[in-house]
């Protein structure tokens, strides 16, 4: 559950000094937070005060103990997280009768909407509903559990999890003020290239732009023209986010929509083969690793080789995913990543990355992100202003260190879901193909003869969010109908999926207790 509680110094000192007379609840609270791995948040301004006061108490009580040992043990045995005390305290407080330490704690708590655990009655009056007295701690936690809403994601929780690293990286960018293509962009590009095992990674402004840039660079390289011709066909799936198809239109080519298989929701390679027998105009394929599950890259690369096609992997939802132990984004001609905040690896705004082993493509993409030239005052191509922001790169770099752990957490949650949900007859759980390493950007079930909207509403009443990715297949959208598209076959799997998929909450930091709540709701609904 979501326990965001900042401990006032008096409660921390109650624990460190075993002050059961002043705080009879302190052992119970400490045991509860230890057993349930609940974080203890502290504002950085408290640290010196806690250490100094503890030291003086021990000295006065003639206790010959090392303060550093006590504090080290405290940190080692608890999930202690230090948050930066904000600098924006109203300076007038300095010459008012207000307690400045309390005000700094209050401001810190307010930053991330934390509660404050304190037995300072005056402070409790000031912070009102955001204050918790130690005597109310256990009931607060129990009530919180009952009322907790389960959202698809909890980005605040994720940010708090590694905020110290994010903050440090952000402070460095602000200090150096190198906001456009600063060193963090290069560091992230190198780190991602290393992680994927590719020669080049180029940061850009979004996952959508990563696709457009790849296509534009391929048109320049393969055709010697800025854009593709409308007769050039690029195969992709209609069951994806608009950007995949939209990028093809923006590169002036024709999207050819080919159906998906209903096991993985990725493009059906047998249908690609069928279509290629009917058209000589296909220049490339954009497989989408939807929900974090890889498309069949063995088949796709084999087809590409046979027909001399480029392959652009849409990896927006699958950072860290693998096919046959190869990282997604390292197999095709280029890989296109998104750092949209809700992605497995996300920033605080839009951002993207193109990966490639092709030197020429890398060079052209580097030009295209900066208006189209190596020299921005003398350009060669019709480029974009599509750079990756330095601040975003700094944030993503901080989060990079936990991506593998977070992907593993997602897989663990997916396993929990599947173990129970596979028993329910009216739904189909996601699968993982033998060569796939699924990173579960979404945990998406397929409903069979079940009213999706009703189910969503019932889950909503129980405080459980769900989402539909995606309610409309691309070939049903005006933008594609009006701007030239081709479809192969009846695309019935895509249409069926659009009508029947439902994605469940999959936040890497959700524990088993939360996932079990979702599962309990499903159990109750299936008994009816």
């Amino acid at each position: 559950m979501d326990y965001k509680i900042l401990w006032d110094s008096n409660v921390i000192l109650d624990l460190l000094l075993l002050r059961t007379k002043d705080n009879p609840y302190v052992f119970e609270i400490e045991k509860y937070v230890s057993d349930n791995k609940i974080p203890i948040y502290i504002s950085s301004s408290q640290l010196q005060n806690i250490k100094f006061t503890l030291s003086e108490h021990l000295k006065n009580a003639n206790i010959n103990a090392n303060v550093n040992d006590i504090l080290r043990r405290f940190v080692e045995t608890h999930d202690v997280r230090v948050l930066k005390t904000p600098s924006y305290i109203d300076i007038d407080k300095l010459y008012s009768d207000d307690d400045i330490e309390n005000e700094l704690i209050r401001l810190t708590a307010e930053t991330f909407d934390l509660y404050i655990l304190t037995r300072d009655e005056k402070f409790l009056e000031t912070v009102k509903k955001k204050g918790i007295h130690p005597k109310d701690f256990i009931s607060f936690i129990s009530n919180g559990n009952e009322k907790q809403k389960i959202n698809m994601l909890d980005l605040t929780r994720e940010t708090l999890y590694i905020y110290h690293k994010i903050e440090k990286n952000m402070d460095k960018v602000i200090k150096e003020s190198n906001f456009i293509l600063g060193p963090e962009v290069k560091q992230l590009e190198e780190k991602t290239a290393n992680y994927l095992g590719v020669k080049h990674c180029i940061g850009c402004s979004s996952g959508t732009d990563a696709l457009v840039l790849s296509l534009r660079a391929l048109a320049i390289k393969l055709k010697g023209k800025e854009y593709f011709d409308k007769t050039d066909e690029i195969i992709t799936t209609p069951f994806t986010f608009t950007a995949t198809g939209d990028a093809i239109l923006r590169a002036a080519a024709t999207p050819v929509f080919i159906d998906i298989d209903l096991d993985t929701y990725t493009i059906d390679t047998s249908k690609i083969k069928e279509y290629l027998k009917t058209s000589k105009n296909v220049v490339g394929i954009i497989p989408v690793h939807l929900y974090g599950h890889p498309a069949n890259m063995d088949e796709i690369m084999q087809i590409a080789k046979e027909y001399n096609l480029f392959v652009i992997e849409d990896v927006a939802q699958a950072f860290g995913g693998m096919w046959d132990n190869k990282k997604l984004g390292s197999i095709g001609t280029t890989g296109c990543f998104s750092f949209f905040p809700s992605k497995n690896l996300g920033g605080f705004s839009d951002g993207g990355m193109v990966s490639t082993n092709d030197d020429e493509l890398a060079e052209v993409i580097r030009m295209l992100i900066k208006h189209g030239g190596k020299d921005k005052y003398n350009v060669d191509h019709m480029g974009y202003n599509a750079r990756l922001d330095t601040l975003q790169a700094a944030i993503i770099l901080a989060k990079f260190d936990i991506i593998d752990d977070f992907n593993e957490r997602r897989r663990k949650i997916a396993k929990l879901y599947t173990e129970t949900l596979k028993e329910i007859q009216w739904l189909k759980t996601p699968i993982e193909k033998e060569k796939a390493y699924h990173v579960f950007h979404q945990y998406t079930i397929l409903l069979k003869n079940k009213n999706r909207e009703e189910l969503q509403e019932k889950l909503k009443q129980k405080g459980i969010s769900t989402m539909i990715y995606y309610p409309y297949p691309l070939h049903k959208m005006k933008v594609f109908i009006n701007n030239g598209m081709k479809v192969y076959g009846d695309l019935q799997n895509s249409e069926f999926a659009a009508k029947n998929v439902l994605s469940l909450p999959i936040e890497p930091l959700y524990d088993e207790e939360i996932i079990n709540k979702v599962l309990e709701s499903f159990n109750v609904l299936s008994e009816r």
Binding site: S9, L15, L17, R19, F27, F52, E56, H57
Partner: protein, 72 residues
């Protein structure tokens, strides 16, 4: 109200104090001390088995320490 009950051969003996004289029945709530964590045991060990080791409040302690530090 808290009353100390002593163990006897047959159970616990609760003395009939004034407040209980008119009662036919009372409910006894059994409160169990929570088991201590490894960290609390560690503190007990270094404080020679004692708790509540300081007689002063944090404010008193700070005031005194600061006075000493700045020679006030």
């Amino acid at each position: 109200m808290k009353i100390k009950a002593k163990r006897t051969k047959d159970g616990f003996f609760i003395p009939l104090i004034d407040q209980l004289k008119d009662k036919e029945e009372i409910i006894v709530e059994i409160y169990e001390e929570p088991s201590k964590t490894e960290f609390v045991e560690f503190l007990y060990k270094i404080y020679d088995g004692k708790d509540n080791i300081s007689k002063f409040s944090d404010e008193e302690m700070l005031n005194e320490a600061l006075r000493e530090k700045y020679g006030l």
